[in-house]
Symmetry: C2
Subunit: 365 residues, 2 copies
DNA sequence: CTGAAAGCGCTAACAC
DNA sequence: GTGTTAGCGCTTTCAG
């Protein structure tokens, strides 16, 4: 790799003159400046940012820690963050904390060693896993912004979607349509899961609706979604609507219901959460809440950059809350006629039991 | 930020002793070593990788340049690459080259300045946009591996999926089912698009099937997919199958067909390419080709790491080609009866014209 | 076993 | 205008 010294030798000047010339400093004679710049270009000189970073005590790099990227929620976030960071003149160091939550610690430690100028941490689950690392970071003055609700972290900047309001809006919509028997299904470890359910249940309670145990299902995998759906449909009194609190799970629910020949939305209403692209890929299109990711990403980055630039040196920790909007699409309908349930449920094994199963065999060759 | 010098002062030794102690060198007395290590831990010392990088002339970081991340193909790739890089002890610098292809140049220049140890470049379109940058990189000995077919780049390592074979396999499958009138639809700028079509057309030709102009549609956006689907369905003799050469486009095709009440696969067979997660989210599940991403990512990273470590100092440029496998799911069926077409097409406006349109109104509040 | 000193490549005060 | 020099924090000879 070619250095300032190399150019200096060729130009017959000192390396500081070269440095100045390449920085377009007015302190160097126009002629020499031009000569040096030409020389550097021809030689293909590229400044060594590592040396520069050491000198400046700054890397113009921000670290982004994300649980994973296969969940389609995150790519949308990454895209936004990457674009905003680039516009602000920062590179992005990406770390996936992964399912193994101890990795969050390693990621943060690594970013700290790399002397990134700031850190964006998307918490994987409710609660902060790498608490000591984060506190150490804060203590040593490294700007850090969290995404997602975290308790006992009043001293840290945080942005989050108002998952509770989103859940509340969905429940209200379903209740407004006339649904009285609603099931919920999801992955409890999901970051916003708790609040999504909380808001949803609040609306149910306000409407005087009870939520029995058998209507609350846990699904951490596609297999569990499937068995959950089978279980719900097999009930003597199946729900008329299902709230899957992530779009990808809702998509799977719809897939399994369709496999079981349960028409959507006529026989079952399904709603999701996040309004990911896949919400309009599936059929029928998914009713969900969304629009929060973009502003969330924007605030996430802006807050960090502001801290890095010390625009607000000692302002108290910020809290940014974005409320998602209801997006109504084809996966919702009025509840199926109660009478039809009452009639059918007299036969043992549940309402849908006698329906044929669609062939979903899959082969690979 | 606390430095070696700080610890040295506290311990009453020189900074070089501290450096040795923290590197667990046998050259330092066990007692002092222990004392220094304890001191460093308590003080929360973290080595400054920037200084270290300057010293070692290596950053243990690799750059990943990807066109975008909203196309669901890429997240899958990122996840694999990130995991493999971490396992090999490398951090990942992520750059999105974006739609604006001049940005590819900027990304590469930036990575070079940052002195990453190697670069993984996923080309955005057929052909290498930032050719001079890449050549400069190669010339200065920076390891770089390309993903995607690129012409006139014999001197560079490259990995790619065998898009032509994938297209060929899909066509053969459709032909085997009895389809004779097949349309293709896609985004021509897509990296593998050309080869996917080439393989597909080859199989058609071998089977003696012609592909008229009206059966070849370009769709760069959802709107164009929609108008394309409408156009196809409105033909006097509509195709019996559609090959959308990206899964996401195939999903949109299925969505629009369903909106138009064209039953899939009974009235229309649809196939995609890549076997992304969304292929099983949609209904019916998509027949596609896949399984290439994972091995591709593995070879992508392994090749680069091998170059960085100079395992094969001067081996000739490598070519890794991964053949995708056919994945048969529910979106394919035998072609609809020809007789039914012949009868119906007598009515003006095309076969499907009289079908009602599903309500797809979307509201937000 | 430990310390002094050089040097990675760069910028910026400080001479001249 | 330009050169000399120090120093960012670290590792690693080279002396002792």
């Amino acid at each position: 790799m070619i250095t300032l010294e190399d150019i200096a030798r060729q130009a017959g000047v000192s390396h500081s003159t070269v440095s100045r010339a390449l920085a377009d400093s007015p302190l160097v004679h126009p002629d020499t400046k031009k000569r040096i710049q030409d020389l550097a270009r021809e030689a293909g000189y590229q400044v060594n940012q590592v040396a520069r970073n050491l000198r400046f005590q700054s890397t113009r790099t921000i670290g982004l820690v994300i649980p994973e990227v296969s969940n389609p929620y995150y790519p949308k976030l990454i895209q936004q963050v990457a674009d905003l960071a680039r516009e602000a003149g920062y590179s992005l160091q990406l770390h996936l904390s992964g399912a193994d939550q101890a990795a969050e610690n390693t990621c943060l430690a690594s970013l700290r060693e790399q002397r990134v100028d700031g850190i964006l941490l998307v918490t994987a689950e409710r609660g902060l896993v790498a608490r000591e690392q984060v506190n150490a970071l804060v203590a040593s003055g490294v700007p850090i912004v969290l995404m997602g609700w975290v308790e006992d972290a009043e001293h840290i900047d945080m942005v989050m979607g108002d998952d509770a309001k989103g859940g509340y809006a969905l429940a209200q919509h379903l209740i407004g349509l006339g649904h009285r028997s609603i099931a919920i299904l999801g992955k409890p470890s999901h970051r916003g899961g708790y609040d999504r359910l909380f808001g949803f249940k609040t609306a149910l309670e306000e409407a005087g609706l009870a939520l029995s145990e058998e209507m609350q299902l846990v699904a951490n995998s596609d297999a569990e979604v499937k068995s959950g759906v089978i279980q719900l449909v097999g009930l003597t009194a199946p729900p008329t609507a299902i709230f899957a609190y992530q779009d990808s799970l809702a998509a799977l629910v719809i897939g399994h219901l369709t496999d079981m020949c349960v028409p959507i939305p006529q026989a079952m209403t399904v709603v999701g959460f996040d309004n990911l692209d896949l919400a309009t890929y599936i059929c029928p299109h998914l009713t969900t809440v969304g629009g929060h990711i973009e502003p969330l990403a924007a605030q996430f980055v802006n807050l960090l950059i502001a801290r890095i630039r010390k625009t607000h040196p000692n302002t108290s920790p910020q809290r940014v809350v974005i409320t998602p909007q209801l997006v109504v699409r084809g996966s919702c309908a009025l509840p199926r006629r109660e009478s039809s349930i009452t009639k059918k449920t007299s036969s043992p094994g549940g309402y849908y039991q006698q329906l044929p199963t669609r062939n979903t065999q899959e082969t690979s060759r």
